[in-house]
């Protein structure tokens, strides 16, 4: 695991308030290239908030205040006039509930590349095929590319959404509890997929399932009440956490 690691993104002293409620408190966290980083912690501790900061999808503005920085390519993504559309092309996201567009399987993948200027049918075909293959779903859908994505099973839909996220060739893929709506077999497929994807991408995943975090991730961050309590190599966090809070959470002696 301790192969050479380099930073892909870095969260530095990040504070975030929703109105008067502070949802993130001085969070510092590295995101290493070609590694899977898992964010764990009890509900409402700010996992999704932190994740959404990374591609600037936090859904609120007027009452949401942010201090600190997130460095990506040595630039703070919270700098004024930062091009968030460009950022999101490089930091893709997969949501908790599978949410394919109500379009054909083909269109789901081709949609974003086309808007981003790839118009040639042949190039699009290539991208669609590659993304579906990379997301381990090509075999299951190649003979029904024109049928609606809504007809797929939950697990297939989620892999389709991952394929869709790949279609913009991002550097980082953020996943917010991507398996929480799936059965164990579909979950296992997505976990396998993550381990393969991480060879070419950097992955950050929020999960409620500690076994999942332990199985798939290289690094784990434990958050509690908006604070990042502990960050470390996954083995260390799950075998021998240094912080008592982490220990308590991991062993279920909580509250």
């Amino acid at each position: 695991m301790s192969k050479k690691t380099s930073l892909e993104m870095e969260v530095k002293d990040l504070d975030l308030w929703y109105d008067t409620k502070q949802a993130l408190k001085k969070v510092n966290m590295p995101v290493y290239k070609n590694k899977i980083t898992a964010i764990i912690g009890p509900s409402g501790c700010g996992k999704s908030t932190l994740l959404r900061c990374m591609n600037r999808m936090n859904d609120i503005i007027d009452k949401c205040r942010i201090e600190g920085e997130i460095l990506f390519d040595d630039k703070n993504v919270y700098r004024k006039n930062y091009d968030v559309v460009e950022l999101r092309k490089r930091v893709g996201m997969v949501f908790q509930k599978p949410n394919p567009f109500p379009k054909s399987i083909y269109e789901n993948i081709a949609y974003a590349p086309r808007i981003h200027g790839i118009k040639k049918k042949k190039s699009l075909d290539g991208i669609v095929q590659q993304c579906l293959k990379d997301a381990f779903i090509w075999e299951e859908v190649h003979d029904r590319m024109e049928s609606s994505a809504m007809g797929l099973s939950g697990g297939q839909q989620q892999r389709l959404c991952i394929a869709r996220a790949l279609s913009i060739e991002p550097d980082i893929i953020l996943m917010d509890e991507p398996c929480s709506a799936l059965d164990p077999i579909a979950t296992a497929k997505i976990e396998d997929l993550m381990r393969v994807l991480v060879k070419d991408y950097t992955v950050v995943i929020v999960t409620h399932n500690m076994q999942q975090a332990a199985r798939v991730s290289d690094y784990t961050a434990y958050m509690y009440l908006g604070e990042l309590i502990e960050f470390g190599e996954t083995e260390q966090i799950f075998e021998n956490p240094q912080e008592e809070l982490t220990e308590k959470y991991i062993t279920g002696r909580f509250g």
């Binding site: 600037r56 999808m57 859904d59 503005i61 893709g92 949410n99 974003a112 808007i115 959404c161 913009i168």
Partner: protein, 262 residues
């Protein structure tokens, strides 16, 4: 020509017609429909407004000052229209910033076309009713499209977020919902256009017929008016969609907070 009685005779007739109102109120009370009070209020308010405007119009038609006064009237129309329509988007902050310009642009375009095509002579007798129709129609189309747009965006929040997260700009992300809202807003107008003369004789034509105009001319005029209404309406709905983006998304292409309260 026109309606064959004086204002005084009209008042008697009005009183006679009011007996219908009394009947309705009694019926409503008896059947416990619970609309008696509101109905009375609406009639009194609407009637009062009409009488006031009639008095104002009487004055306007006689004075040379109408050139100035008509602006006050138009201004009132646009402001009232903008605010009424803005109430459709309950949580959108300063929604009138969208509705007012949308109604203004749509209705004004229609009126300018009418004026240039000489369908609307520049006399208060023509300007005022036609402007009323243009503004009124633009207002209802504005309300419909804004309501539909906000509803669609809310229903498809996750879909839109997925698009945003794929680096698709907000403009493209809401394109489909714009189309839906514009179409939805125009449906009543188009339906009415289709059934023109069958289900009902529209206001302008009714007025003209009552005034004794040749039915063919009246029909022509009604078509002109309708074209203006549809044209102005489409412009209004498009302006709503265009302006609403700034309210629905933040400066950084995030869905805005107020949507979450809808």
């Amino acid at each position: 020509m026109g309606i064959p009685y004086t204002p005084l005779e009209g008042l008697y007739i009005l009183l006679a017609a009011s007996s219908l109102l009394v009947l309705v109120i009694i019926l409503s009370f008896y059947k416990k429909l619970g609309i008696g009070k509101e109905f009375t209020y609406a009639i009194v308010k609407g009637g009062g407004q009409l009488v006031l405007i009639a008095l104002f119009l009487t004055f306007l038609f006689q004075t040379k000052l109408w050139i100035f006064l008509i602006w006050i009237l138009l201004l009132t129309m646009i402001i009232v229209g903008g605010h009424t329509s803005a109430k459709r988007a309950t949580h959108m902050p300063h929604a009138f910033q969208i509705t007012t310009p949308s109604i203004l642009i749509g209705a004004t375009t229609a009126l300018i076309v009418l004026a240039l095509s000489r369908a609307m002579p520049l006399q208060p007798q023509y300007i005022i009713p036609l402007a009323g129709m243009a503004f009124g129609n633009s207002m209802s189309i504005c309300s419909l499209s804004l309501d539909r747009l906000v509803r669609e965006i809310n229903l498809n929040r996750t879909g839109i977020e997925s698009m945003l997260s794929l680096g698709i700009p907000s403009k493209q992300a809401m394109e489909e919902y714009n189309r839906l809202s514009i179409r939805a807003a125009l449906i009543p107008t188009i339906d009415r256009l289709k059934t023109l003369g069958v289900i009902f004789i529209p206001g302008a034509m009714a007025g003209l017929l009552i005034a004794g105009t040749d039915p063919l001319v009246a029909a022509e005029y009604q078509i002109i008016v309708y074209l203006m209404i549809v044209g102005g309406g489409i412009i209004t709905a498009m302006t709503v969609a265009f302006l609403a983006r700034k309210k629905i998304f933040t400066e950084y292409d995030q869905l805005a907070e107020w949507l979450y309260k809808e």
